[in-house]
Symmetry: C2
Subunit: 301 residues, 2 copies
């Protein structure tokens, strides 16, 4: 007959998953029970705190819509998203570091020619981006497909703004590397921006006196046959939020020294209208297989 | 500059809560981060599993309404609700054991006279309930208030059925103990019943090959000045789900040997219409203070 003390109870719940046919689900549920119970025991969680947690989780689910994913946001600000990224990329010696895909990737972009301007006339400081894609030995990878996307001068992605469907994409495109593994494009300098704070997750981070900011960055998703797809960001050196990114996405190696230049001519030979920023980065892909990630719903980034 | 490995990342997230003004919130958030991260690391959670978890939690929030609380149901089937009850009742030597309040408590019931029939004419096997309320030494507590509520012969509470607001309560009432600490009432025998399985939590337990059943029981909430309010159930011996209650609420001491009687006269001197069940229980209250719990939204029980 059951007579559970605090420890027996945990073992009884773990055992209730014994007949789970899927062995991975069984392991995940049993470990989940152990983690949750250990948390309740060691914090001595009160009824009132438990009720607040139930209410918080409910509101987090109810805040989510097809274009807003509050649980991903929660995962992001608790560093869980980056940790999932980390445990799935445990062996990448010599390859470029990964970081989260984020919700503003909308699927494969339209391919644009070498040197194209992806800013679609948006206001902002001009930036010229040059990247090179190589294998672990530094040999160029030709015909690699490189999707790029980033926020505008106000911190918004095109997909966050009204009229996106009619207006079409801006600050996002796909490029293919040349024989030397290079791509280049023109755009505007992205800026740091806050994650959405009008929901339960915003309430949480503000109650914890955390700021809601992400440092400025450009997303890259790079695929080439025979290599693992690479999902990463390049951050802009000097941003004041690099050390305290609300989603913990920054890695030192991913910070680019974006130079401010006054040269009258840009690297592609075209005239500059004034000062411009020059971002350069070399990506090293890891040999292997793997499908490029699918777009996620909007949570953050 | 940040450069997080799997362990550094956890410490960085823990540290992000350093400025939380409320010390209890700070502790709860820091420990939550440690628990979540430890879970992700030791299971090696994949991206696909993480996405499934995000989707599950989102649907759990969205399934909840003012009369249906799917996150409480999740807490119940993972044994978390009973564990929160346990860690908040660590020192109860000699007092009656507690169990969860559940969602079908709707607030203080209408008081009824000693021996009243609370079945409101519902079909079912007659049951006569006698209970006595004492202190830890067995001395009777007079004028203790005893709220009782239970499911009907089909496993439903009155508040789950259409027309509840107009029809008024059934199978729920409040009694006050007499000078000898006793209450008595007539009702029908409750039966075991399933928790709601038409949501994400139902999908989860069915995928784990767990049954959704709770063993038959009567809820008691007992208050008296100078004693801690007691929230508990009395279960009916012989129920086939006593060992595997989906919410882990059973404790051996809370099982009553409900006798089937053929006496022509019930203990209150009134004639019986046929065989009847006799539930008896003695509750021992712990000296102390405390407010009676507030009703929760509908999740289970």
């Amino acid at each position: 007959m059951p007579q559970f003390d605090e420890t027996d109870l945990t073992e009884a719940v773990v055992k209730s998953f014994d007949e789970t046919p899927d062995p991975r689900m069984k392991l995940l549920m049993r470990e989940l029970v152990r983690s949750l119970h250990d948390y309740v025991r060691r914090t001595g969680l009160t009824f009132e705190e438990w009720e607040k947690a139930i209410d918080f989780l409910t509101r987090t689910g109810q805040k989510s819509t097809p274009s807003r994913q509050e649980f991903i946001l929660l995962s992001d600000v608790l560093g869980v998203s980056m940790l999932v990224d980390a445990v799935n990329h445990r062996d990448r010696a010599g390859a470029t570091q990964t970081t989260v895909l984020g919700p503003f990737y909308v699927g494969e972009h339209k391919q644009m020619p070498h040197g194209a301007d992806i800013s679609e006339g948006l206001d902002g400081e001009p930036m010229y981006v040059q990247a090179r894609i190589t294998d672990l030995d530094g040999a160029p990878i030709a015909q690699a497909l490189v999707d790029v996307w980033h926020a505008d001068d106000d911190g918004f992605y095109d997909s966050q703004k009204p009229g996106y469907a009619e207006r079409g994409p801006s600050l996002r495109a796909r490029f293919a590397t040349d024989a030397d593994g290079r791509i280049a494009f023109r755009t505007i300098l992205p800026c740091s921006y806050p994650i959405p704070i009008d929901g339960p997750v915003g309430d949480l981070i503000l109650a914890a006196r955390r700021h809601p900011m992400r440092p400025a960055h450009v997303h890259f998703l790079i695929s080439a046959p025979g290599f693992e797809p690479l999902v990463t960001h390049v951050f802009i050196e000097g941003d004041k939020y690099l050390e305290t990114d609300i989603v913990f996405g920054v890695k030192e190696e991913l910070i680019s020294n974006v130079e401010l230049r006054n040269d009258a001519v840009m690297p592609d030979g075209r005239e500059a209208s004034g000062p411009w920023h020059w971002m350069t980065y070399e990506f090293r892909l890891k040999p292997g297989q793997g499908a490029a990630p699918r777009p996620m719903m909007a949570g953050t980034v």
